[in-house]
Assembly symmetry: D2
Homo-oligomer: 355 residues x 4
């Protein structure tokens, strides 16, 4: 119960530190006889990979995943699926400056206080490198969710906001640019802005939006494990996330019931979808859509005042490879966590009726 597992029936447990031997995980509860598309998994990893473009961290990791168990003759056997991604490009010496100092708005201080001890190299377990394991499991989960599409994209970077409803966007086109914004003009602006921010040694936050289509009706469990509550937890568990809203979200809080209610059409679909595809915590078959807010990366290439282990003031030098803005690389992570949530609820829902 130390928090490194996600899911109840389709359950991922991850391990690994930024500068240890590698990262990986075990998926327990994957049904048998799923034919695995290994290329699709590697492709999602590549979307998350460092060094993939000029606007992300330049750490060089091939991030090739190796499966260790649970798959036989290309198909899952129903037994645990273990996988490993080796760490190759560890410049651990880059981190000697933080062995005794706490980086502002990082987890250095809290880990040290909680455990009395930490692996300081690259943030250790608190590094976002851990999310590569999520992408592996999520990419596998996507394959189980036959017919359901999970598509995330960057909808804002700093104050640059894409104010176009997702229905009017070609979401697939998000992959056509390095920002992963499905609006070419806005993507250009965002790219330029991120490059500028990087030059200044600064960072910037952003928002990733996600749309899930063709979800069957009935996923989600009353009352604590509502579909959107688990989606929220899953997203908030990603490094740097500060907020989650689905459907009408925070704007919905300003609306009236007579505006907000989604009236039914014959058959069960609704005319509007302020509900975001979820009613009473259970999917209703309409699109699920949500926004995830990411704070600016805390690592700056600037000197910052901070404290050391003894609580005394010191100065920390800006060093280490890092992302000027996480959202382009966060897109496949958001998708992965969404896929994990849906897969788990898909399996859980198999037991809601008797036969």
């Amino acid at each position: 119960m130390a928090g490194n597992s996600y899911g109840t029936l389709f359950r991922l447990t991850t391990f690994g530190e930024s500068h240890g031997k590698g990262i990986g995980g075990i998926i327990d509860g994957c049904p048998a006889e799923l034919k695995i598309d290994f290329e699709a998994i590697q492709k999602d990893l590549d979307r998350r990979k460092p060094g993939q473009s000029a606007i992300v961290t330049q750490r060089k990791e091939s991030d090739e995943v190796q499966f260790l168990s649970g798959i036989f003759e290309g198909k899952t056997t129903g037994t645990p699926i273990a996988f490993l991604i080796a760490n190759l490009d560890q410049k651990s010496q880059d981190y000697s400056h933080i062995e005794a100092a706490y980086r502002p708005s990082h987890a250095d201080y809290t880990y040290d206080q909680k455990y009395g001890f930490r692996d300081h190299r690259g943030g250790g377990r608190s590094s976002a490198r851990e999310t590569a394991a999520r992408v592996v499991a999520g990419a596998l989960a996507k394959q189980l969710l036959k017919g359901i599409s999970v598509q995330a994209y960057v909808s804002s970077v700093g104050n640059l906001k894409l104010n176009i409803p997702y229905q009017q966007l070609d979401l697939a086109s998000a992959e056509d640019n390095i920002v992963r914004c499905p609006d070419a003009a806005m993507a250009k602006k965002m790219e330029a802005y991120i490059k500028d921010i990087r030059k200044k040694g600064d960072t910037v936050g952003g928002v990733v939006s996600c749309v899930i289509k063709n979800v069957p009706v009935g996923l989600g469990e009353p009352v604590f494990d509502k579909l959107h509550a688990e989606l929220g937890k899953a997203m908030l568990s990603i490094n740097a996330v500060k907020g989650f809203e689905y459907g009408s979200g925070f704007e919905g809080a300003a609306m009236k019931g007579s505006e907000h209610n989604d009236l039914f059409e014959t058959g069960g679909r609704t005319k509007t979808n302020h509900s975001g595809g979820v009613q009473g915590g259970i999917s209703n078959g309409m699109d699920i859509y949500f926004n995830v807010a990411f704070k600016p990366v805390a690592t700056l290439i600037q000197n910052q005042e901070t404290i050391d282990k003894d609580g005394n003031m010191t100065t920390i030098m800006g060093k280490g490879r890092h992302d000027p803005c996480v959202v382009p690389r966060a897109v496949p992570i958001v998708e992965a966590m969404a896929a994990l949530v849906l897969t788990d609820f898909y399996l859980r829902n198999k037991t809601s009726k008797l036969y």
Copy 2:
């Protein structure tokens, strides 16, 4: 794993429908020797109770909680604490009109699809009446969290927004008015607005904000069970919630790292608190603060077009007692869920170090 439990070590399981015999729950994992202040629990229930003021539902429920086990001579024994709140004022006949029709933006349709069957009276299990059990458990959890204060309040109703940082408010004064807004002038406006909305048979959404002070450093578990991820799930599991943000939240996504980073002061406190008291998913000792967005109540005193069980169009009459705006009654629910999250992490953290 059907979703009616919350928490890992301090674990609440709830039961009950709006128009059944009652609602209640079992708390398992409460440490022994906690002296219970029963009045404080009832007081929190009264803050959530229907009929408490002119701007909430007029269902008459005394909502008196009866403890059935786990407490001996006024103290917890370490064994399960069961409790029951009887349902008294059930006008089930008020709901005969929805036996065959699905109310828009309610859970009628999704429950029926998921289970093939539902208790339609008052929404059954999907009714927010279920949250009374959370308030009981949360009020008890507050007593365990000695020294930690959990204070929620209404920060917006519709477009009426209290744009004052919580540090400049007297949060305790929220209880001085029926809206539970800690700014008397704004509370007046909100109250008038809710009354107006009610007259029109309409409803409106709002935002509840919450501030938690004096949290010890170290609560929260990497990597999936981050403190704010559990807070997010807990809040999103409350009926009608559409969004959650903590610390800088969605605004933080527009900021630069150089603005957003919280620089340390000697000793471990930080000068700013965009982190919202959480770094790397673990509390850092600063105030935890967050916002929870509630959609407008879906029950209107207006006729609405909808569908029946067979998917055909029908008209549903506006009937049934309901809240024009949930946020005043949601305040103690938000506090309760926050207290449950913190208590669970407090117990979990007892095992992070060896001795």
Copy 3:
């Protein structure tokens, strides 16, 4: 995680003390649309009830179960099923003598040490009265296990052992006598022996055997949650149980592989069944059978030397109503726990294959 829940998908959480307001529980995860036979549940409770015959405790409890939620129009709704059995005949004053003294081989000492505090009346939570809640949930589970029969019986009392293979017994006839032994002659002897033991103020142990027929192939999960491992835990969790063996059991440990192996017949059945219906932790469709050893009840109507709270020697008087031998009343409890285990694995198995 304080240990008062059993099952992963079909999950029972119980509460209650011997001399509190009552005992009961919540079943979460029961699929919807199960038609409940309330009489069958009460009948199992009556088989466990105190005062049912001359050889059991004379505490008078009607043990009528009241369902509080989760059932609508006689069918389960998929939401939590709460139930309550009131405590009526509490002679708590009978226990004043143990407020400060620890009864030998009872849980008085360990509860006090663990929790620093205990409800001493009738053993509080450690009383076997708690098992009535298991019987309710188990009786409901039996109804879900359509076609599967779960039949337990008394196979030994003290040194009186029924050395007849279950295949040669009419198991249903166990209910024809108050001992619940399916051999009339042996039942008579056992009854006489128990009466004699009672007269002497003494108690005696015994063995309950159980046979489960018509189990589908495939129940049980590798590697820790093997079917027989969960059965073992379930049985060992019943008060006073000291041992569990299934199939060939302890005798199997003395056998050779060439004797012990169960050879297949065309179709998948086996010629012998030393495996006890389980291979590799998964049911193989053959009968599951096992033995459960119960120690003699620790409450004697004799004076015993013991210690008080301060660790000093004192004498405890034999008092309180109790069973001279628990096995006749343990029969429905063993069945209930077996039914809970099977139901949980039945639901879990729904997700072992993809579709």
Copy 4:
């Protein structure tokens, strides 16, 4: 929830098949700052290792464990500890004969029925090779249980039974012979018997006994997670186990209460220990002792009639390297599972009292 995890707070999840790339696991929930003795872990692995003596399987595996995460500068960091043992000596072709046939009393048939598919090589996931991962985790757990000793030994092989109370044995001497029986004379007889059985291509069962000393009072949780119930589950989850008894066990079922009760001595110790160190599911500070029955290994070097995938009769040749008797190698596995159970309850017990 597919069953490959054990423990609630100190939680081991294992993976791997007999003839895949390797086996291993993740330990989540190990407290920080535990100094790891890697040699002690390897030593326990060596005690379980194939090829260690003339009476065990001759598969050649060095079984060297590699730790991948969670340990920094020789100490645990509180984050997940992943480890891997490579499979080296895989003679998978030895198993081509069982691709289409089911070995009697193996898990071939049940896995195929459950999953529709299996990795047949060496039994795949159902192979006892999986237990090496348990030994790693258990050896680490032993280091956390400072002062508590966990010592198992062989007490019977076939009909050769060591009828000497453990108190009269020098348990450490069990490691002086290849049978692991702490009585030199009996060990000799057992060794000779096993060698004889092997020559005949047959196998034989046996019993492993275990004694745990210096357990603190208070471990174990009412009511389902009793200490001995978890010990029972843990033991029964080991391959080939058919029975578990603790304290007086099955013999206790034949005793009278006046004989069986353990009378207290001043201070809380008891004069006798039929309770086996557990009262009401909670440790009382006395020695915990129990017996675990292992069936004879199902792989014979004899031809056996069996069925193929289509349910038709066929003959299976005796092939493959295997143990003539598992108990000598089971000794460290029993210890490992006992250590995992105790460690988990040790951590769980940290939350039974408030402060």
